[in-house]
C-alpha cells in the first residue's frame, strides 16, 4: 500500500473513510443498451437516407444549421448590452481573486476551502454542463483573459487606440490546437496524478500561472493567441460547443454575404476586433469562438446574435484539421480516463504497479511514475483504436478521398460521446459533493474549520443535491443522447466523405459506416459501464 503527500502546503487529506458513490443500476443500463442498439440498427438499415435536418444543415450558409432560430428580441437586446457583460466580467474576476486568496492563505483542507470546492467541484462541472445551453459563454467572462486584458490595455472596456502589444504572429508550427491539447494533458496529469484537486494552495498557484500566461501572451502575440492556441479550457469548451443549442451567428446570412467592411473581424473605433480572428458571416463551427460579443456590438447592421440551432448540426458537414482531430481524441481519452481513475480498483491497481516499479529499482516516486504510465496507455489506446476504425471505414467505402481527411473529419463523431459522458460523470460530483457549499461560501478561506469528519462525509453522501434516482436517469439519458448525436454525425460525415468526388454506391457507404457506428456504440457502452461502477468521492 502506498500513500504520497507531495508537500504539506499542497496536500493534506481529510480524516475519515474514503466514500464511494453508487453507480447506475443494471436495469437502467440494460434499458439504455436496448435503446442504443435500436438506434444503431436504424442507422445501419438506412445508410442511403439522410435525415431531413442533416440535409438542410449541408445547405446552410452560416452553419447555424437546421432549426436555427432567433431568440426573443428582448433577450437579444440584453445580450447586446455591453455594460452588462463588463459588469459580469468584473464580478467573475472579483470572485476569482477571492478564490486565489482563499487558496493561498486559507485552510489546506480541500473540502473546507473555497479554492478547491468552487474550482473543481462546482466550476469545472457547471462550466461543462452549461455548454449545452450557452456554448462557450464562459470564455466571455473568463477571469484569466479579462484580468490580463485589463492589465495590458489599462482600461475596462472599449478599444485601446495606443499600441499595447508587440502583436507578433504566433510561429506557424504552433498555429493549431496542438499546444492546447498538450496543456490539457498536463492539466489532467496535475489534476488526477499530482492531486491538485485536493490542494487549495496548488489550485491558487495554477490560477495565477494561467493569468501570467494569458498576460504574457497578450503582450507578445497578436490578439488573443492564448485563447485560440493554448487555453485548454477554452478549446475544450469550443469543441464541446458543437453540441450546444445556441451559438453566436448572423441573423440574416445575406447581410453578411454582402458586407465589405467586416467590422466583426476588424472591430471599430470603440470595439476590439475578433480576438480569435473569425469572420462571423463565414464561421461554420464553434471551435474557436469565445463568445466575447465583440462582433455583436461592432456589427453596424446589428446582424449578429445568439441563435438557436439543432445540437451537432454543424459537425455533420464540417471539416477538421489533423491537429483538431488529435485534440478531440485527447478530449475523449481524458474524459474516459477521469472515470477510470475514480473506479474502486484504481488505487489498489496503481499501488500494485508502484510496488512492482519499486522492486525494479525505480524507487523515487513510483506512484507518479505508475500513474503517468497508465495515463499514457489510456491516452494512446483510443487513438490507436480510432485510427484502425477510420482505416477500415475508408477501406470499406472504396478508398474515396484521402485517409487523412477521413481521420480528421470523422473526429467530430467523437465529440458528443466525450461531451455527454463528461457531463454525466460530472453530474454525479455536482449532485453529491456540493452539500456543504453554503458553509464554504460563508467562510471562503475555511479559517478555524476542522477536516471533514467521517460522519459529515456520510451525511453528504446520504443527502445529495439532486435525488440519486434522478441522477441515474439523467446519466443514462445523457449517454443515449451522446450516442444518438454521434450516430447522426457519423451518418452524415461518412456520406459526405464517401461521396467526395463520385456518387457513392449505397453498399460502400453502408460498409464504411458500420465500423464507425460500432466504435461509437462500444465507446458509449464503455462510458455506461464506467457510470455503473461505484465512483470515488473527490477528496477521499
Amino acid at each position: 500500500m502506498y500513500l504520497s503527500s507531495f508537500s504539506l502546503n499542497f496536500f493534506v487529506l481529510d480524516a475519515g473513510n474514503a466514500m464511494h458513490h453508487p453507480g447506475v443500476p443494471v436495469s437502467l443500463a440494460q434499458a439504455a443498451l436496448l435503446v442504443m442498439s435500436l438506434v444503431l440498427a436504424w442507422y445501419l438499415r438506412s445508410p442511403g437516407r439522410l435525415p431531413v435536418s442533416a440535409c438542410a444543415a449541408g445547405s446552410s450558409v452560416t452553419g447555424a444549421g437546421p432549426g436555427a432560430g432567433s431568440m426573443p428580441a428582448w433577450l437579444l437586446r440584453l445580450m447586446r448590452n455591453y455594460r452588462l457583460l463588463v459588469t459580469m466580467r468584473v464580478l467573475v474576476a472579483s470572485f476569482f481573486l477571492l478564490i486565489v486568496y482563499a487558496g493561498l492563505f486559507g485552510t489546506p483542507y480541500p473540502a473546507r476551502n473555497m479554492a478547491t470546492v468552487m474550482t473543481w467541484t462546482v466550476w469545472w462541472t457547471v462550466v461543462v454542463l452549461a455548454v449545452i445551453f450557452v456554448g462557450s459563454l464562459w470564455c466571455a467572462v473568463c477571469p484569466w483573459d479579462n484580468i490580463a486584458a485589463w492589465l495590458v490595455k489599462r482600461r475596462l472596456w472599449r478599444r485601446q487606440s495606443a499600441p499595447y502589444s508587440l502583436a507578433l504572429r504566433v510561429p506557424r508550427v504552433f498555429r493549431n490546437v496542438g499546444l492546447a491539447a498538450l496543456a490539457f494533458i498536463v492539466l489532467s496529469w496535475f489534476e488526477l496524478g499530482y492531486g491538485i484537486t485536493l490542494s487549495p494552495y496548488a489550485t491558487a498557484v495554477l490560477a495565477l500561472l494561467l493569468v501570467v500566461a494569458a498576460t504574457v501572451s497578450m503582450l507578445v502575440f497578436e490578439r488573443r493567441s492564448f485563447c485560440r492556441y493554448v487555453c485548454p479550457v477554452g478549446r475544450t469548451l469550443g469543441f464541446y460547443s458543437h453540441v450546444s443549442v445556441t451559438a453566436l451567428r448572423p441573423i440574416d446570412p445575406a447581410v453578411c454575404a454582402d458586407c465589405k467592411t467586416l467590422e466583426c473581424y476588424h472591430g471599430t473605433a470603440q470595439v476590439d476586433p475578433c480576438p480569435t480572428q473569425l469572420v462571423i458571416g463565414r464561421t461554420k463551427q464553434n471551435t474557436y469562438c469565445i463568445s466575447c460579443g465583440n462582433c455583436v456590438v461592432a456589427c453596424p447592421h446589428q446582424n449578429v446574435g445568439w441563435r438557436l440551432r439543432m445540437p451537432g448540426s454543424e459537425s455533420m458537414h464540417a471539416h477538421a484539421t489533423t491537429a483538431e482531430a488529435m485534440f478531440v481524441l485527447t478530449l475523449l481519452s481524458l474524459s474516459l480516463f477521469h472515470g477510470v481513475t475514480m473506479l474502486p480498483v484504481w488505487e489498489p491497481g496503481i499501488n500494485t504497479l508502484s510496488r512492482f516499479l519499486s522492486e525494479l529499482g525505480l524507487y523515487y516516486n513510483t506512484y507518479l511514475a505508475s500513474f503517468s504510465l497508465v495515463m499514457l496507455v489510456c491516452l494512446v489506446l483510443p487513438w490507436l483504436l480510432y485510427f484502425g476504425v477510420v482505416r477500415l471505414a475508408w477501406f470499406f467505402s472504396g478508398r474515396r478521398g484521402s485517409a487523412q481527411q477521413w481521420f480528421a473529419d470523422l473526429s467530430f463523431v467523437l465529440i458528443p460521446v466525450a461531451f455527454f459522458y463528461h457531463v454525466a460523470h460530472n453530474l454525479a460530483h455536482l449532485a453529491r459533493e456540493t452539500h456543504g457549499l453554503s458553509g464554504v461560501l460563508l467562510n471562503p478561506a475555511g479559517w478555524g474549520a476542522l477536516p471533514l469528519t467521517g460522519a459529515e462525509k456520510h451525511s453528504r453522501h446520504l443527502n445529495p443535491l439532486i435525488d440519486q434516482e434522478v441522477v441515474f436517469v439523467l446519466q443514462v439519458v445523457l449517454v443515449i443522447a451522446g450516442f444518438w448525436l454521434s450516430a447522426r454525425i457519423a451518418h452524415s460525415q461518412v456520406r459526405k466523405l464517401a461521396t467526395n468526388r463520385n456518387q457513392a454506391q449505397a453498399g460502400g457507404q453502408s460498409r464504411g459506416l458500420f465500423p464507425v457506428l460500432l466504435f461509437v456504440f462500444l465507446l458509449s457502452g464503455f462510458g455506461l459501464w464506467l457510470l455503473m461502477q461505484p465512483m470515488a468521492m473527490r477528496g477521499g
Binding site: S4, S5, F6, V211, V212, V220, Y363
Partner: protein, 199 residues
Amino acid sequence: MVLRMRVSVIVVLLFVGWVQSVYAHHVLGRPSYSLSEGSNTPPSMQVETQIGKYFVTYMVFPAFPKPNEQGRVNLYIKRIKDGKTFQGQVSFTVMDDSWFSSNEELLGVQNPDDNVFRQGFLFKKAGHYLIRAQFSADKEPYIIDFPLRIGSPFPVGPVGLTVGVIFFMLVAVNVMLRKRIRTLKTKRHRDEAAGMAEG
C-alpha cells in the same frame, strides 16, 4: 496644522506598515532559547492521514528545521478499527524531493517507544526532502511519504512572483513599443526629408 497632521498620519502608517509579524517566544512559560527538538512542547508541524487499515499521524520537531540543527520525526500508527497502536517495526528513509532525483538514505529502524515511533535527523543542506516510513502489517507492506522542508522557504511567494513577472513584462514591452514608435517616426521624418529634397 493640516500639513503636520498629514505628516503624522504618514509616519504612523509607515510605522504600522514596518511592523513585522511577531511570534510567541514563550511556550508554556519557557523562553524560546531553551526549546529544542528534545523539549516536551516544541513547536511542531503535523500531518494526519490514513492508509489501508491504519490512521497515521506524522509530526516534525521543530516545525521548520534548519541545516545542522537536530530534528525529530514522531509517527503514531493506529488501527482504524479498534484504535490499537501498531507494535511492529518502522523503517525511516529520506530522499531528496526534487524532480528526477533518487538519492536515498536510511535514517533508522524504530520500535515503538510509548506507542510512538521516534526518529531523529540532522541535515547539512537546506532543501525539500521526503521522509518515507515503511512497515509491514497483516503481511501487507505499507509505504508513506511525508514532506520535510529544511531551512527557510523561498522568500518570494506566488503572489510576488506573479506581480513581478507581469510588471517586468509590462515594462519591457512598453520600452520595446516606445523604441519601435521612435524608429518609425525617425524613418517617416527621413522619408519626408528625402521627398522634400527630391521635390
